[in-house]
Symmetry: C2
Subunit: 256 residues, 2 copies
């Protein structure tokens, strides 16, 4: 399978890849497109784009609005709800996240790693908590947030190297962008069992995160509390987050 | 577009359709498959299945587990979260659904119509409420539940006819399966502005539902309360559900 995964062979690969590449053009920033836009952005001829969009629309991956533009269809959402690392994890973790939210009244986040980035699987906004700009289904860098550092610390070596060798985005003056310093932080995360992002994403917030493991001891997600800087200590938050992460891990292990 | 939608033309159509048909084999009941199973279930040659699975896996529509089986991938969940009728509607409606849940302590559901069925977009289980077996992303018949009757009452004529001409599933002795009686019920739903399912799904529950409209006055979803039979009157529930549905409609209209 490995060679095929890298280079899908045969005539089937390219056509399907083209259809999937059309879907890739739908993002949070650009959630709707006309066929002409899709053709221009993909570089595919208009006639090919028309045919592929027709197939995707018929199946339900795309839906045509009253304005003639296409959007991601409900069928894709329905199918996506079967992803164990998305909706499956979310539903399993939700009771624990809600407990954490109700006890602390702070923001609670759950994220998984996808390649060299993270995707937020759930967020519960605390009543009166510091505003957090994350979105369920949204992506973020692994290097800045508590959940990101937690996931990166337990990622395979090649992922850590790929992330630390790339440009590391700066969000605030306190964002750590020095690869060596990040490597030391990741070692601390593994030793301590939790990760701290101290005003590295916004200057008014800190987050404390802990890893969620599956039944084979692999880190598959991370859970965090995000609180306003100065209102709570890491020492008070870390045990809460770690306890919650362990409870989710336990449920995950017994469900698989 | 219409003719193309029905019969995607050209050599691109069939290959992409085959890949999409492989994805269709993943369901709530069968969320994981080996390549051999996919080949057998789809009727595609093993080599073709291997190639298509490789492309889908590489893109992230499928993910290979430690057991060698494939599951729906996180990328599909991520992309699905862009569906306006799924996650988009859910996030917009959630504050109102939570209000309804906290005020009544009963089950709250939000559903949309997909063809001749409904899909649950959100459900909030009431604390101590009657158990409800719905699942976010799950499908159900339009003829039995409150949300289903509400959606069917406002569906195009051809959908109503298709549903009423098909076999109508019976869930309890009280499920209405007579097409003529259902037609009269749908007329009542349109007249009253709400739908009632009285022990038609389970013998211990009734649901009251109201339609959610978009800015063009089209019914795009339905919201319901599901309560234990005998604990509340339709007359007390209907105004609550209708008020909530209107609030969601208003937000929907102003967001589009």
């Amino acid at each position: 399978m490995t060679s095929r995964r890298g280079h899908p062979a045969g005539p089937t690969g390219p056509v399907v890849s083209r259809a999937l590449a059309l879907l890739d053009l739908f993002t949070v920033a650009t959630p709707q497109h006309t066929v002409s836009q899709l053709s221009r952005l993909s570089g595919l001829p208009l006639s090919t784009t028309h045919r592929l969009v027709a197939v995707l629309n018929q199946w339900g991956a795309l839906e045509r609005g009253a304005d003639g533009r296409y959007r991601i269809g409900l069928r894709l959402w329905e199918l996506g709800s079967l992803a164990p690392r998305g909706q499956g994890l979310r539903e399993l973790a939700l009771p624990y996240l809600e407990d954490l939210s109700q006890i602390t009244r702070e923001n609670v986040q759950l994220a998984v790693r996808e390649g060299t980035e993270l995707i937020f699987v759930e967020r519960i906004a605390g009543s009166g908590a510091v505003p957090v700009l994350t979105r369920v289904g949204g992506r973020f860098a692994l290097t800045a947030t508590g959940v990101g550092l937690s996931l990166l610390a337990h990622a395979p070596d090649e992922i850590q190297t790929a992330v630390l060798d790339s440009r590391i985005e700066r969000f605030t003056p306190r964002t750590v962008t020095d690869p060596l310093r990040l490597r030391r932080m990741l070692a601390d995360v593994r030793r301590d069992g939790y990760a701290v992002s101290d005003r590295q994403v916004t200057l008014d917030a800190i987050s404390v995160a802990a890893p969620v493991e599956n039944g084979r001891g692999e880190v598959v997600a991370a859970v965090s509390l995000v609180v306003r800087h100065g209102t709570a200590t890491v020492q008070s938050l870390a045990p809460l987050v770690r306890t919650s992460a362990r409870a989710i891990s336990r449920t995950l292990a017994s469900s698989s």
